[in-house]
Symmetry: C2
Subunit: 189 residues, 2 copies
DNA sequence: TTACTTTACGAACGGTCGTGCTATTTGTCA
DNA sequence: TGACAAATAGCACGACCGTTCGTAAAGTAA
């Protein structure tokens, strides 16, 4: 319950706003009562990030395993990725993305947990793409890591367009970009 | 001088860390002496964002005007974009990108200034791409707004890869992605 | 019921936050 | 030189920060 509230707070206003006081008020606990569960603010933030990362894996990758391996699964991952914050009740944006920018120059365990999450994300995406190559749906020699890099960029542009600019066509633009990415890869040398 | 220090602070640790106290310490002024220049913390943050936006325009778009209109100019914009934080002495990341994520769900003048900056960025990019279409270097009917959306994504993925993940090949991946984007657009129906 | 652990609370600490006052210094122009 | 404006400093305020400590309630096992 505490971590759910922590993720909601981080989604709304970033990890900087994830303080003992605000979270105590949000959960109805006292500051010291809440504090005792974690021992430090940093431990609280780490727990929240790990929970977000697990939620991401359950919401994006796990259901995509039911799609056929290869491009159908790759597309399922992408589609769940676009919608995962809504599906998870994080109505105000991806807390992991926000944290990645807040902590990208602050060494410490929080940063390391974030790096681990995004490394895992990259690896899982590459694996799904590699299966598409093995299935013959993408040319042999396709650079799966490059495709994963570009897919990440499309999702970030989608976040930016929908959250900051409030563009209604953000999802359409993202899907168009992803289709072009896959079809360009499909027709490469 | 104050605003230079403010941008350096925002680049290092985000706009949340741009407080009166830290900026006073960084500049050598007293808190109240610094405060008098702006009247409120929000005015300080707005001034810093406007300065960053001007710096961005001067560093990315202004020099690209010396490249020939069309694709050479588009490529010049992209190349300066990748390097603009280094060129501007903001060694720890783009403060406008960080601010966009911190404030994307906080209505107010700060958010509006950020939206104005990214709208301007999008328009300028579209204009350069439209010139490339007029020059016959991209097919008639090319969706310049879509290309600008995807270019933004590539830059965001580059930021992520170089700053959080510390990947040495981030710039190479970004250039590969941009080349593929332009060539795919060039061979479209 | 008794002993013990878990969980939560209230109060307090030193510190920083933004902001408002009142001086005091600095610069400018007559 | 003197008057006046701009810039800066010093100090205090209420609020919130993370954290610690002592204590009371709740749950658990004997």
């Amino acid at each position: 319950m505490i971590l759910d509230a922590a993720l909601a707070q981080a989604s709304e206003s970033g990890f900087e706003s994830l303080t003992i006081g605000t979270l105590a008020a949000r959960t109805g606990l006292s500051k010291s009562g809440l504090f005792a569960h974690f021992g430090s603010r940093e431990e609280l933030q780490i727990a929240a990030i790990d929970r977000a990362a697990n939620l991401f894996a359950e919401t994006v990758f796990a259901p995509a395993l039911q799609a056929r391996r290869g491009l159908p699964r790759v597309r399922a991952i992408f589609e769940h990725w676009l919608q995962w914050t809504d599906d998870s009740g994080l109505a105000y944006g991806c807390p992991l993305h926000a944290a990645a920018i807040e902590f990208d120059d602050k060494p410490g365990p929080i940063r390391e947990h974030l790096v681990a999450h995004f490394d895992r994300l990259q690896r899982n995406l590459e694996r799904a793409l590699t299966l598409a190559i093995e299935e013959g749906q993408l040319p042999v020699g396709t650079d799966a890591a490059q495709l994963a890099f570009e897919a990440l960029g499309i999702v970030f542009a989608y976040y930016h367009s929908t959250r900051l600019l409030r563009r209604a066509d953000a999802a359409t633009r993202a899907r168009t970009a992803f289709d072009r990415l896959l079809s360009a890869a499909g027709t490469a040398a």
